[in-house]
Amino acid sequence: MLDCTPKEIKERSGGMINPAKTCQPIGAMYAALGIHNCMPHSHGSQGCCSYHRMHLTRHFRDPVMATTSSFTEGASVFGGGANLKTSIKNVFAIYNPDIMAVHTTCLSETIGDDIPSLIKSAEIPEGKLVIHANTPSYQGSHITGFSNMTKGMVSYLSEATTDVKKEQVNIIPGFVNPGDMREIKKMAQMMGAKFIMFPDTSGVLDSPMTGQFNMYPRGGARVEAIRDAGNSKLTLALGTYASADAAIQLERKCRVPSLTLKTPIGVKATDEFLMTLRQAFAREIPGELEEERGQLVDIMVDTHYHFYGKRVAIFGDPDIIIALTEFVTGLGMKPVYVLTGTPGGTIGGPQDIFEKEIKSILEQAGVQGKAKASGDLFQLHQWIKNEPVDLLMGNTYGKYIARAEDIPFVRVGFPILDRSVQTYLPITGYRGAMRLLEMISNALLDRVDRDAADEDFELVM
């Protein structure tokens, strides 16, 4: 397994080997699926759209609907305007969504298709909407694409129509599973806060079996709700990389103040999320949530010896792994390698934001570790070859390293292509933290059981 990866690390400058990211449009497609009655549309050649649909389908095991402009060479040279206009006409005529959300690819971006003017000159049926986001694949990652499309929702839809802001909060959950969106909504509900979540893929990509196929499932943020987000008192952007831009845009456009929080993974980040709601709406934390938190801490204390001091490597999308890194330090683990493929800064701004954030978490925990943005799994594997770890956490692609180096492996993040159920269940909130804890514990203890000599094999652990 991965026998061609040498231990000796050499400087590379030609690109990526085994990336820990993918390209923008798939994130935009995912975000667009979080709008009710929406058809995501990929403005480029059709290969992108098929790849993105395939990949999302494999992760969610649910239908993923999206259309494409199907560029040919002619359109690639002379512009894809006609293709987009034909698409808009056909999509509304054949698939009748309420809204189309157009994203771009490296093809239409390199050509420089002017999407807003194309949309303006397209035939859009009465009462229907077309929004767009530019999602050049040669910038950032799929997380950037999610962020750009979410920002596009605000730019096109959100409006400030009331003089006084309503007692409601906007929650932008970031690039997380429907199970997490449900958990975050559950917590907000328990707090008694009125909220608008967008995008929201719960009920879309975790839809139930009913014997009927619905092209537009029950879930998804309603267009009216995204509009009304402009009237909210506050926006909580969960995750800097996936959510902050949309929140800032909402602040600019509709004067809704925003706060950027960590994705609520683990005790501290969940506490912070609830404390923010508590303060904003002067609502006490309900007993049920306090009980959940107490249960989580109880388990952490009871089982600390399962995790304490274990060296762990974590890779994946920045918002998720920042919070995850914080959580595992709370278990007494040592996250010695933390790596994302997504660039760690802003376009034109400083590039080391991710590294700094991880370093500060590690410093607080007294852990010596490496943090890397724009990294790849080839690099992560080489680090592990040089100084091994006790546990690997990341998406499905990590299984090759886990097998090659015989490391217990916990699947977390996007995509998970080789296991099921995970998109339904949360890793966020106190309940999600319990689930993570169980996964980590199971992985480590399964290994202890596997490796133990007969005489050391324990009944109670």
Partner: protein, 546 residues
């Protein structure tokens, strides 16, 4: 229920007029009384129709080049194209030297905005240097993606310079995603490149064994090729090269010495098959190792080609032995499958190949089609002279080869060749339409709307296609079988593959979960026996609550 012209018309009437005009030409109701029926295929996709098609890059790197295991395949582009084609097709491979198997690696120049603005040639050259230094592969390919053509990166020159610098075979493929109208363009581009730069570069002058063959258009999905090769070896064949499942640069460069080329997937590899015939005089035989009857027929045709009595006898012995093994295993599955119907919509060859295997299990194909096949895959190779090239595919270059001065030789005498052509499909493919039953539907580039409509009317018992549409019939309570990746199972080819396929299909019919779709409370009234009282305005349940 079958679909007649009127029903079809009604389905198409839901389309805007222009879309309807186009789609009408891509759909046939098979009618053998009507003589040869013409279908339109390999034309551009209608924007916004929700096609299942992919792009030329997928056809070139993803399908044809990617499986070659001892080569590193560099994708020159932003990260997505390399990422999505990273281990997602199940073209299995095993190497004696694990340090010469690069299939679990995804290598991309990961172009950034600056590469789009200032060009990515330098970064590509650096990536080649990195790859040679780290991996020391036997050869390297470079595949272009959409923006590469637009910004004018000259990947051929980069490849040539790197070849001079590193002394290994490094070749470039201009398979930008927008070329042609589908994956098909990528097959053609890959075929040209392999023929021009790799096949025939080896030193071998004579076949290493008595019956030396190549298998073309076989990608070893789920181990298909290994199962076929197992049987071929037992009969006594020597497989020189497989294009390209479990294939290698080392085998491929000597592919010119084979005495016969077998063609499994006509669409993706017929260019190389024809070129090998022109350049080296090697005939090709259309085979099909999916399904028991098709496998037997293919084996017999091969034996007939070589015409050796011992080989013919051995072929029959092996067939008999294999049948003895699998027939009892198939019995229980046939009972489960008998009388059912299926759709068979796959890329460019399996839409045809699986119909026979389904038929052997008692499952009738009521609709079949291809994403990106050409008219010859539907109607047979005789229509090739009548296919008009259109603007979208004119820019895919045809490679013209000439007979090799030293290596061209007739593998069998010309007269015998002509005799054989009357009996077996030598350098010929009859297409899918001939084997379809009257009244069945043939659809080219099936889209989502049509999928739903055809399912609604034809109510197939199982839906066979790919991952993007797998869960759509599932939601409707209809099992589905992925015929691209076999739902992570396989092999499905050859004798033992047929048993695997029968087991998997049967399993999806009888899995108990289908019985749970309707919750019990949907079948039972909430208030048993109390409905009359309620309707009179007095409801005892409400009273109880008070």
């Amino acid at each position: 229920m079958a679909i007649d012209d009127k029903t079809l018309e009604a389905i198409l009437n839901e389309f805007p007029a222009k879309v309807k005009r186009s789609r009408k030409k891509h759909i046939l109701i098979k009618n053998s009384d009507a003589g040869p029926q013409e279908i339109e295929a390999n034309t551009r996709t209608i924007p916004g129709i929700m096609t299942n098609r992919g792009c030329a890059f997928a056809g070139c790197k993803g399908v044809v080049l990617g499986p070659l295991k001892d080569m590193v395949h560099i994708v020159h582009g932003p990260i997505g194209c390399a990422y999505y084609s990273w281990m997602t097709r199940r073209n299995k491979a095993k190497s004696e030297d694990p340090k010469k198997n690069f299939l679990s690696y995804c290598v991309s120049t990961d172009m950034q905005e600056s590469d789009i603005v200032f060009g990515g040639e330098k970064k590509l050259a650096r990536m080649i240097d990195d790859v040679v230094e780290i991996f020391n592969p036997n050869a390297i390919t470079i595949s272009a993606t959409c923006p590469v053509g637009l910004i004018g990166d000259d990947i051929n020159t980069v490849a040539r310079l790197a070849r001079e610098k590193h002394g290994i075979n490094i070749t470039a493929y201009t398979c930008e995603g927008y070329k042609g109208v589908s994956q098909s363009a990528g097959h053609h581009i890959a075929n040209n490149g392999l023929m021009e730069n790799i096949i025939g570069q080896g030193e071998l002058e004579e076949p290493p064994a008595k019956y030396t063959i190549n298998i073309l258009g076989e990608y070893n999905i789920g181990g298909d090729s290994w199962e076929v090769e197992r049987v071929l070896k037992e009969i006594g064949y020597h497989v020189q090269a497989v294009m390209t499942g479990n294939g290698s640069y080392e085998d491929l460069k000597n592919a010119h010495i084979a005495q016969l080329n077998l063609v499994q997937c006509h669409r993706s590899i017929n260019y190389i098959a024809s070129m090998l015939e022109t350049k080296y005089g090697t005939p090709w035989l259309k085979v099909n190792f999916i399904g028991i009857r098709a496998t037997i027929e293919s084996l017999r045709n091969m034996a007939q080609y070589f015409g050796d009595e011992a080989l013919i006898k051995k072929t029959e012995e092996v067939i008999e032995k294999e049948l003895m093994e699998i027939e009892p295993q198939l019995e229980p599955y046939k009972k489960i499958c008998q009388g059912k119907t299926t759709f068979c919509f796959v890329g460019g060859s399996r839409g045809h190949h699986y119909q026979g295997l389904y038929g052997e299990l008692g499952i009738k194909t009521v609709l079949a089609g291809y994403e990106f096949a050409h008219r010859d895959d539907y109607e047979g190779r005789e229509v090739i002279p009548n296919i008009k090239p259109d603007a979208d595919s004119k820019n895919i270059p045809d490679l013209h080869v000439l007979p090799d001065e030293n290596r061209y030789r007739l593998k069998i005498p010309a007269e015998r060749m002509e005799e054989l052509k009357k009996k077996i499909p030598l350098s010929y493919y009859a297409g899918m339409n001939t084997t379809m039953q009257d009244g069945s539907i043939i659809v080219d580039d099936l889209n989502h709307y049509e999928t739903e409509e055809f399912i609604r009317i034809l109510k197939p018992d199982i839906f066979s296609s790919g991952i993007k549409d797998k869960y759509i019939p599932h939601k409707m309570g209809i099992p589905s079988k992925q015929l691209h990746n076999y739902d992570y199972s396989g092999p499905y080819a050859g004798f033992r593959g047929a048993v695997n396929f029968a087991r998997d299909v049967s399993m999806s019919f009888i899995t108990p979960a289908w019985n749970f779709i309707v919750p019990p409370w949907k079948d039972k009234p909430l208030l048993e026996g109390s409905i009359e009282q309620c309707s009179e305005g007095v409801c005892p349940v409400d009273d109880d609550k008070k």
